[in-house]
Amino acid sequence: MRQKQSAADRTFTVLAYTFILLFTLFCLFPFLLMIIGSFTDEGELIAHGYTLFPQKLSLDAYKAVLQSEVLFNGYAVTIFITAAGALSALCISAMLGYSLANKRNVLQTPFLIFCYLPMLFSGGIIPFYIVVSQWLHLQNTVWVLILTLLCQPFLVFLLVSFFRTIPEELEEAARIDGANEMRIFFQIMIPISKPILASVGLFYALNYWNDWFMGLMFVDNEKLFPLQLILRRMVSNMEAAKNLIPSGVAISVTPPTYGVRMATTVLTIGPIVLLYPMLQKYFVKGLTVGAVKG
């Protein structure tokens, strides 16, 4: 039922819309700047910097970037660690989460404490660095980029709180029918947890896609640089953008370094932004399950 609004209420509604609109534009602005910047003519970028309304558009930056082997290599590394990492992380976390949530687990309390403590106390990055590089000798391997991020306590506990909401009767019934733990997990728990598994898997994928810290710490070999690390080099070093352009490629008189920086950024976030509309609801679900606990 629609009631007639008072003048004060109308003003309030208008204010609400205005505020949300302004904040949306504030959030959107850097993205627009990036995308438009990547299509702007280099001469104009040098003269006026990045603008929202360029006079002259150009595809030079993308032409240069798409011929860059460094970038393709970075894409390959990032796609590999994201796919392999997120998949293994999801399997490991789902199994751990199920075991932790299961009331029949006689070691439940010690297991829970074991997984909780790292959230409260950490050794810090120096011992971590020594363990990974001196003990495990993982530096300069692609595995260091995958293994170090395999398990996030926060996401494991998100799964634990979900598994706890599954009625025990379901498991009991299966057990009476003669199903063992393995069958219960794979044929009952996994199918009914699909939405939450999707959320957790996506969070892991995002972690892997966006990570650069592990690369910064443990990888010097440029062949193993993920996209983010290639981009990082360009943030601090203008010349790095030039290295991306293969020598002998004649695009224009000036190499489009400003444009290349933006084009690389756009290509780095591209997959996230493109998949985002489809994935958003899973992220929201994951967040709110975690916040409201169960």
Partner: protein, 312 residues
């Protein structure tokens, strides 16, 4: 299944032997924590050692509290401690305020499409890596003719030499933080608002309350517990500087260290540039201990406010 809680070690063992899968499936995850969390905790002892690569963690010589002395008496200590706390307080305050405002205003939006589209865009920055954010910041503030200055000049203001003005950066970082994190937090607040009973609103409307009154007298007060919990969780982490954010944006620009260098960036730099493993792990240990105290305190308070929201 209660009986198992009081079961004897023998019958526990029997359960493990009969249901190996239930325990085996936890193994990879537990192994991960053992290697990547517990080994480093064991390695903390190097904070009390003169770390030597050849001798390793166990073999290096003990030096007592020397590493700590060196750090606590340096001027750097107070600067990075102050920066870590100030920046985190600014972040918590402004991100929470913005997120509450967004959630409250968003709740008034009735247009379905406007709602869906604006929420998508407000949430989007959360998915960007700090490197991408660093690139955007660099494009706006960096270079010989920062773009921000062009705008300032267009509206008749003096240009600013951003890379030298360390005083401004706490505020710039706060704006960036709000941009990146407010949308995310607002989703949690919105979920809490959705949980408020419709009857309360109905009753208020029948009594002739205006929209503003409803927001101030019903929605906001009922949101306070959630706000408190999210704030407490953040305060528990106040000693952890956001390394990824600060390092991606500030990088090695030492002119900005006086206001932006936090514990985490300091530790990373002393390791990378000074190769002082003993001192940096002493700083790391100090941070972990303070962090632990704060998390436990925050959790204790959270428990008193709302038991089910406490972490443990």
């Amino acid at each position: 299944m209660q009986y198992q809680l009081h079961a004897s070690p023998r019958s526990k063992l029997k359960h493990i032997v009969r249901n190996p899968f239930l325990y085996a499936m936890a193994a990879p995850g537990l192994l991960f924590f053992l290697v990547f969390s517990y080994f480093p905790i064991y390695g903390i002892m190097i904070a009390f050692k003169d770390y030597n690569f050849a001798k390793g963690i166990t073999g290096s010589d003990w030096v007592g509290f020397k590493n700590f002395d060196y750090f606590f008496t340096s001027d750097d200590f107070w600067i990075i401690l102050r920066n870590t706390l100030t920046l985190n307080m600014l972040f918590i305050l402004f991100t929470t305020a913005a997120a509450v405002l967004i959630a409250l205003m968003f709740n008034e939006i009735r247009n379905k499409y406007f709602k869906r589209i604006s929420q998508s865009f407000i949430f989007l920055p959360y998915f960007m890596s700090w490197i991408v954010v660093g690139m955007i910041v660099q494009s706006l503030f960096g270079g010989e003719e920062p773009m921000i200055n062009t705008w300032l000049q267009n509206i008749g203001l003096e240009p600013v030499n951003w890379m030298f003005e360390s005083k401004l950066w706490p505020y710039i970082l706060t704006v960036i933080r709000v941009w990146q994190g407010a949308g995310y937090l607002s989703i949690i607040f919105l979920a809490a608002i959705t949980g408020i009973s419709e009857e309360l609103y109905e009753a208020a409307r029948i009594d002739g309350a205006s929209k503003l009154q409803i927001v101030l007298r019903i929605t906001l007060p009922l949101l306070v517990p959630t706000i408190m919990i999210m704030t407490l969780l953040a305060v528990g982490k106040i000693f952890n500087g956001d390394f990824a954010m600060i390092y991606a944006i500030i990088g090695d620009n030492s002119l900005l260290y006086p206001t932006t260098d936090v514990i985490d960036t300091f530790v990373f730099r002393s390791m990378r540039q000074l190769h002082d493993f003993g001192m940096s792990s002493a700083v790391g240990l100090f941070q972990s201990v303070m962090g632990l105290i704060f998390v436990i305190a925050a959790n204790w308070i959270t428990r008193r406010v709302s038991k089910e929201s406490a972490l443990f």
